[in-house]
């Protein structure tokens, strides 16, 4: 009895040691994952709902604004807090950040805030009149409502904005005026381009992978290199090459003109067509490679068996070969779609003004105007799209082990 207890204790100790070793071996990779992947993504996405710049810079004013009903003009206390805290923020050099946050709520508030901050020290009570003298905007309730909007640590305005929605003065959610609608339209373009690119890549890539899988050793190797060739050239160079080929005075137009196929040069680039061509070219390997590896694993005997059982070539392909390639096709389409949805350099370089994709806007908002809140909200939107599409395509890809994750 005691012997068996002893044995099980030994077993436990041995298996614990094994576990610790495994964890120890995994630790560096895990730490890298967290530091370089999980943490940045989480903190970035947090930005889409968390914008505390104003609230932390002006804690007392924010507290007062939070309790204000937003219906009647604020009392003198609020004006005094503005004068005190704008001045203090000016001294602490925090005003610029807070005023940027204010500007997202209402255009023009940045200059108002900076102006107020510069003159805050000289203001005397009664502060209401003094501030209106600095800028008449302080006498308007809209200004105060905007301040109230920025006073919380958390906000839904970026997420709403990404969906072309806004908070109405009554607190309800409604669509923004038509002339301000931007992002849903971009999302639609992004999804549409990604779907078309995925379908085109599948149509071109499937026969290509098939030929590669069926080819002999030497021919297979040559084809493989051709497929991987786009990876050897930088994205910018590849895209520039497409410009050279497809522009109005480009090689393709020149050749078609010389052959008399067209009467005048066709617009092949700087429009949607150019985006499709360049993106399919870049993304094709991601479809071909998983498909190829699945096709390579299908024994040649399967088609022969189908023939021996009475299936003609087309019937054998549709009933025996194609169903077995669906996992590879699913994995390839998933890869291409996820990569396509995040494209922005290629559409920016070879697309027209209507072909800019959401990632391009994210990049512009984050790097150009430093609107991290909206950029994060749009990124969140993209992530949600992928989260919806992933399980659908992923189910087909699942059987191969090529599923990403």
């Amino acid at each position: 009895m005691s012997g068996s207890a002893d044995l099980s204790r030994k077993l436990k100790r041995a298996s614990r040691r094994k576990q610790l070793t495994a964890i120890g071996l995994l630790a560096p990779a895990l730490m890298l994952m967290v530091a370089a992947f999980v943490w940045p993504i989480v903190s970035l996405l947090t930005n889409s709902v968390r914008a505390p710049e104003f609230a932390t810079t002006m804690p007392n004013l924010s507290a007062w604004l939070q309790s204000w009903d937003g219906q009647s003009m604020p009392a003198e206390t609020a004006f005094r807090l503005v004068a005190e805290e704008f001045g203090a923020a000016m001294d602490a050099k925090n005003l610029a950040m807070a005023s940027t946050r204010l500007n997202y709520e209402k255009g023009g508030l940045r200059s108002l805030a900076m102006k107020t901050g510069r003159r805050a020290k000289d203001l005397q009570a009664p502060f209401a009149e003094a501030l209106v003298r600095v800028d008449p905007a302080w006498g308007e309730i809209e200004t105060w409502r905007a301040l109230k909007g920025a006073s919380g640590v958390f906000t839904d305005r970026f997420v709403l904005q990404a969906l072309d929605l806004e908070r109405k003065p009554d607190g309800g959610i409604g669509a923004v005026p038509p002339e301000q609608r931007v992002y849903l339209d971009r999302l639609e373009v992004t999804l549409w381009i990604s779907i078309v690119v995925t379908l085109l890549a599948a149509l071109i890539g499937y026969p290509m992978a098939y030929v590669m899988a069926m080819a002999g050793k030497t021919a297979g190797r040559v084809l493989f290199i051709l497929v991987l060739l786009p990876f050897w050239v930088s994205l910018l160079v590849r895209t520039a090459a497409w410009v050279v080929l497809l522009q109005k005075e480009g090689i393709l137009n020149g050749a078609m003109l010389a052959l008399g196929l067209i009467a005048e040069p066709k617009q092949l680039i700087f429009n949607r067509l150019g985006v499709y061509i360049a993106m399919v070219h870049v993304l094709l390997p991601f479809l071909v490679l998983p498909l190829y590896s699945v096709m390579k694993s299908i024994p040649r005997d399967h088609m022969r068996a189908a023939a021996s059982l009475g299936a003609g070539p087309v019937s054998a392909f549709m009933t025996v070969y194609f169903p077995q390639t669906i996992p590879g096709l699913g994995a390839g389409c998933l890869l291409v779609f996820i990569l396509a949805i995040g494209f922005y350099v290629t559409p920016a370089l070879v697309g027209g003004s209507g072909d800019q994709m959401i990632s391009g806007m994210i990049s512009e908002l984050a790097l150009g105007t430093a609107n991290w809140g909206l950029a994060s909200a749009l990124a969140l939107l993209l992530l949600c799209c992928i989260a919806i599409i992933y399980p659908v395509l992923g189910r087909y890809a699942g059987a191969t082990g090529l599923k990403l994750g």
Binding site: P299, D301, R304, A305, G312, Q324
Partner: protein, 405 residues
Amino acid sequence: MEHSTKQSGAGQMSAGQMGAGQSMSAGARALVSFRRVEKTYDGRVNVVQSLDLDILRGEFLTLLGPSGSGKTTTLMMLAGFEVPTAGEILLDGRSLDSVPAHKRSMGMVFQNYALFPHMTVAENLAYPLRRRGMPKAEITAALLRALAMVKLTGLEQRYPAQLSGGQQQRVAVARALIFQPALVLMDEPLGALDKNLREQMQLELKHLHAQLGATIVYVTHDQSEALTMSNRVAVFHDGAIQQLATPEEIYERPLNSFVANFIGENNALPGRIEGMSPGMSPGLSPGLSPGISQATAPDVCRVRLDTGEIIEALRIAPATDGRTLVSIRPERMRLASTAADGANRLHATVRETIYFGDHLRLHAEVGGTPVMLKLPLAQAANFTPNAAVTLAVDTGHCRALDPRA
């Protein structure tokens, strides 16, 4: 009047068949005929060279040979997966030249089964029936019969990956038989099974053949498999049939050194033919295999072995220069019991003995040539290495063959 017309018609047909180079009886019984069929892949070496072969209706014919001997290529040409470079293959007297594989209606069992992994057992089995447009009710009935035949009832909803190797094998066999083809081709179907299962499946295939009466062409490199199951065995080597005969004939009366060595175990003693033995009649020789009548019995010749000893052997196919290898099966040699025992006596030196459970193997040397004897355990005396022994063997079991073939 009418009767005689019919007869003359039949006569013409027979004459036509005889014109094709076949005897009347073989032409009538042959289901498949290879006529001077050749196959080359590289244009230099013939993988199959000028093959003439009649496969009789209802027989179990095994194509046996080492890898690269042309047996699989022969089967693939019959199945329609390879095209002969020259010659033609006839099925029921009609050329198969322009008949694609899926219209040949031959059942085929592949080396790795080639079961369709995305289909259940039932779907795999129904595949050939559905291709033939059989009504659903009939498919279900045929399915149940087939499952019962291979003892897999109850497993119809499993996928191939959920079956053991032996079960997959049975499904593959059932799928090749379910549409009742007149001809079933098997390409090393038992190669992937372990030894016990293989022996069990050999018997089952043999019984299925007896039960169904289909013609089976079976490719293997395993001689015991060939001997167990076949009505006739065609031994392939270097793209040509070396011998085509019943298993017993192949084993007991090999026509050349290759067959003697490839089938079973063989002792080959090099020597030179010195002349005929006119006084000796092989029919009187004890131990001559039964079934050979006096008229067809080969001549007996005297062979001077390279050791200097002279033995008498059946003159089967010595080389033109008189060089020969005398082939003797290990179980046909014995220790000479008396000074006059046996027609041929050989002086040998013991090397070692190996205990085999049901018999004892004695390895010895006859003038430098290793020989092996299978001795009954009753004779298992203590042999000391390097002891001199005298071996006896009857003339009827010594076959003088061409050393180069």
